[in-house]
Amino acid sequence: MTDWALDMPQWLWGLPLTLLPLWRLPLRSAPCSWHALLPADGASRAVDLSLRLAGAGAILALLLGSSGLHRREYTVERTGYGAHMVLLLDRSRSMDDSFAGRTPAGGEESKSAAAERLLSGFVSGGRNDLVGVAAFSTSPLFVLPLTENKAAVLAAVHAMKLPGLAQTHVSKGLAMALSYFGDEPTAGSRIVLLVSDGAAEVDPDSELKLRRWFKEKGIRLYWIFLRTAGSHGIFEAPDNPEDDNAQARPERYLHLFFSSLDIPYRAYEAEDADALKRAIADVDREEQRPLRYAERVPRRDLQAFCYLAAALALAWLVAAKCMEVAR
């Protein structure tokens, strides 16, 4: 039983005490004139043995209990639903505005607060994802590596509530998110979930690099675009062909870039918190692929069983003591 352990093995120095009850009984001896006169009695011998064992057992159980007997924590491999996912969060200053493009006033919720609230719900749901977090504004921010620690991921998502930083420089952020995945393929799908309210032109250098990485690493990409009222959408082509370029419509061109990657890709346009919620629910539904993951079975305390055993053994000794013939 290698997975059993003690917290304080010093108590085992008391083990020699268990020999004592095997030798002596705590009962009053009844005088009798000649032992040979007594008939050999199997039942009496059995009771005698049981009382000796009860005494030894009670001491052993109390020693094991006091030394903190427990079964160690171990991991079992289970199949659940989830993925290896990197949340790539936009921390640009515009995320602090409401969906209407203003500083939130009254009951209005900023885009970052809505994203924070709904992503928190997504993360703390019943999924078994391994989640990493990256953020970007003008530069990419490494936040958390891929981890199963949901509390840590929530802490990183909660940090979104704080004021944003600067511009939206999405290609550096994407490169950072992709760097979370190693080159060797793993079981379960690899997802990048990009949540942003804008985009920027992808420069040719990073375009080549991103194109290669997305393909090589086998990434599935989701983009939730938080569309501010009055801004251009990612799906619509401009009326004026002169505006149809990456500088004027970076969002549309980022979408075209993603579509041309030849990888599984879905884009959502969310114009309010409800649409954002639907988009997140959709990702949740889409990514219900089986994933093998290691579940931690927490340590199990066995002290209670020791004490129960000791109490039962002692009860038997007390009962025997009660049956002592009083003279």
């Binding site: 005490l17 009962l27 009670a58 490494f142 990183a156 109490a311």
Partner: protein, 323 residues
Amino acid sequence: MNRWRQRVADPVFAALIAAFVLAVAACFPLKLALERPVFSHIVIVDITRSMNVEDYRQGGRAVSRLEFVRQSLIRAAADLPCGSTLGLGVFTEREPALLFEPIETCAGFSAISAAIEQLDWRMAWAADSLIAAGLRNTLELLGRGDADVVFVTDGHEAPPLNPRYLPDFAELSGKVRGLIVGVGDSGLSPIPKYDESGRRLGIYAEDEVPQRSGFGLSELPPEQIEGYHARNAPFGSERAGGTEHLSQLKEAYLRQLAGTSGLGYHRLESPEGLARAITAPALARRQQVAVDVRWIPAALALAVLAGVYLRTLLPRLRFSTAN
């Protein structure tokens, strides 16, 4: 009745009953609420260029301030008792960026140390380093009382601060608990220059960094400024020279900032020193933890039972003739 009184008077019987009762008691989940010190920190690390200065030595090799900060922070995080929490953020320009809210340091240690490992000057979204303004914003934003602020910086303001416009800490003083950690050596060292991909390009030269503040009005009256012109040269026409392209730990300045904002000050000299500084009793928070005390009745039962059996070893002095 008489028989029972007689039985209870028998010390062996009484002892067995007592051991039994104690063992039964130990079967119940007995917990005692004890207080123990835990810590809650939000560490904000300066990642501006001057933090690349290599003025720490480790194993005979020069390491940058940021590298030394990373190693020291990981060591200090490992030293926090379980139940403590640590949040991490970076600072450039005048704004802190919180990467994550405080995370429990035992369960979250691998995530925390990986995040510290990745702290890099290339995370910076702006190149300015307005320490006092950044400290003020950090305290305003993060000094919420549920965590202490640990602000790690070398104190090198870039561009230099105009003494006319110093951030006001008056309303924050005493409201926030925490520590300024001063990083660097007191001697001047050159600041390495890197390109965007992290290749080293040499060091910053004297004319590559602003040597004096060009913001607002000069602190000197116009008559004392050489070549003063209200519109074209409010700071004078003389070429500003200086040592702003070199960097040192501005300890006196950081001590003064710590004093006005009501924070403590610690100079980073070793990882162990930082670990001690952030686990100082002054920063401890009391946390109630339930301690398992079932071993107490169990040990008592054991003692009583051992007594019963050890007694059987005593020579019988007298033949029991109780009637």
